[in-house]
Symmetry: C2
């Protein structure tokens, strides 16, 4: 099955475009779990089991694991192994470096860890991203217009009458690409989701910014229409409760977002 | 001692602005070392011992270690421990994400691993970089104009009469910063090194692109003048010989670049 087929298939099966971001932090774990790196895996496993029928993808943000050193990376790998084969796995790593270095990052994430997808940063241009695009049956999400306040600093600068994020999207479409091409576009910018869809109608959007960051799910999904999209929520689901009921509350929140995002 | 003091002190002591990038790849190791992850550390240790009086810094590029999984990360940590206390250690990770995520990356690199410096990508703007800038006595190198061909794709787009890389440098100077502010500017662009020095005279430049990438050391150093700079060479030193004499050849090449770069 192609990666696009895998995405369509799980979205249909679970009737969901929701992705849960496993941005797990020790200081935010429910009080019944001990504050030690082993608990990260224990927590993730519980969250995955509680929400596995509500999602199409899980996104693992490397920062949260790297900060706990080797034990954190063990937690990352064990969490990844817990995710059923039919669900999309996204390495949220925002990598990007000169060609030979990006090649090593791609090998790490796509081969050594066997993720389905990765997020990459476009600042260094074509040769920093092409090593990722060479892979068949992987999704490469290039940062376009991110959900955070700092997205206004450089992504929205106008050059030749177009914002930089539009240059990124249009230019990326001209690159040789075996992978499925995707872009990160924040739900905090529904108007721009609609605008970007006018020149990138079939790419896969990874849409963060709903939940704690305050993005508008229904406006964003209306703007995106039927085009392929994966919508991420992290903290608002993971930390829905800090008590013994954290799993059932996470599941409730996942169902709420699944419905709000719609199909 | 402040981080700037540490840099000046080692540059004076060793009479060197050279940094060696430990971009170690199994397939390029000398034939006398076995092609297994443990050899990465063995090789790095030999290179560090052979060149320790020729450098002011070592730069560890995370990609090359992450691609070998947990064993690669062990090699990274053990290599880091081999670097003498008085030499600057740079985490070449090109990180950058939304605020709470960048905070975790900063904790990982500056606290958990205790690197002196990091490279970060500016695409996501202020809140993606501020968590790094909060640290006293660390150097934060923001990508400005990178050494690779893809630097032309977005970094050189003109907005309001100025290239994007100039927006990055000028804007970064307006951000709250406890750390020592630095920029990555490739030696493949000596004219722009000179231009950027007109509006960023005291920041620390991390200058890659000399050696395999073909940058011009003497033109670049002339353009930079006396401003603080660390000049990186990776492959041309690491893989100077694939034979039994790899340590002495690496030392010879390091001496050659040390002289070419000058003080």
């Amino acid at each position: 099955m192609t990666i696009s087929g895998k995405l369509t298939s799980i979205q249909q099966k679970n009737q969901s475009r929701l992705c849960i971001g496993l941005d797990t932090e020790l200081t935010k774990l429910p009080y019944i779990l001990k504050s030690k790196p082993e608990s990260i895996f224990e927590f993730n496993k519980a969250i995955i089991e509680a929400t596995v029928n509500q999602v199409c993808a899980y996104k693992i943000n490397f920062a949260f694991y790297e900060q706990y050193g080797a034990e954190g990376m063990v937690a990352l790998r064990k969490s990844l192994e817990c995710i059923p084969e039919n669900i999309i796995t996204i390495a949220d790593a925002k990598r990007g470096d000169i060609g030979n270095t990006s090649r090593a990052y791609a090998a790490s994430v796509f081969e050594e860890m066997n993720f389905d997808a990765i997020t990459v940063s476009p600042y260094m241009g074509r040769d920093s991203i092409e090593p990722f695009l060479e892979y068949d049956n992987k999704i490469v999400f290039i940062l376009a217009l991110t959900s955070n306040p700092g997205s206004a600093d450089f992504q929205r600068l106008i050059s030749n009458g177009k914002p930089i994020y539009r240059h990124v999207v249009e230019t990326a479409h001209t690159w040789k690409c075996n992978a499925a091409l995707g872009f990160v576009v924040g739900a905090t910018h529904p108007n721009e989701v609609q605008e970007i869809r006018t020149y990138s109608s079939n790419s896969i959007f990874l849409i963060p910014g709903i939940g704690t960051q305050g993005g508008d799910a229904s406006a964003t999904m209306k703007a995106n229409g039927d085009a392929p999209a994966i919508v991420n929520v992290s903290r608002a689901i993971l930390y829905a409760s800090s008590g013994v009921d954290f799993e059932s509350k996470a599941c409730e929140q996942a169902q709420r977002y699944q419905k709000e995002i719609g199909m």
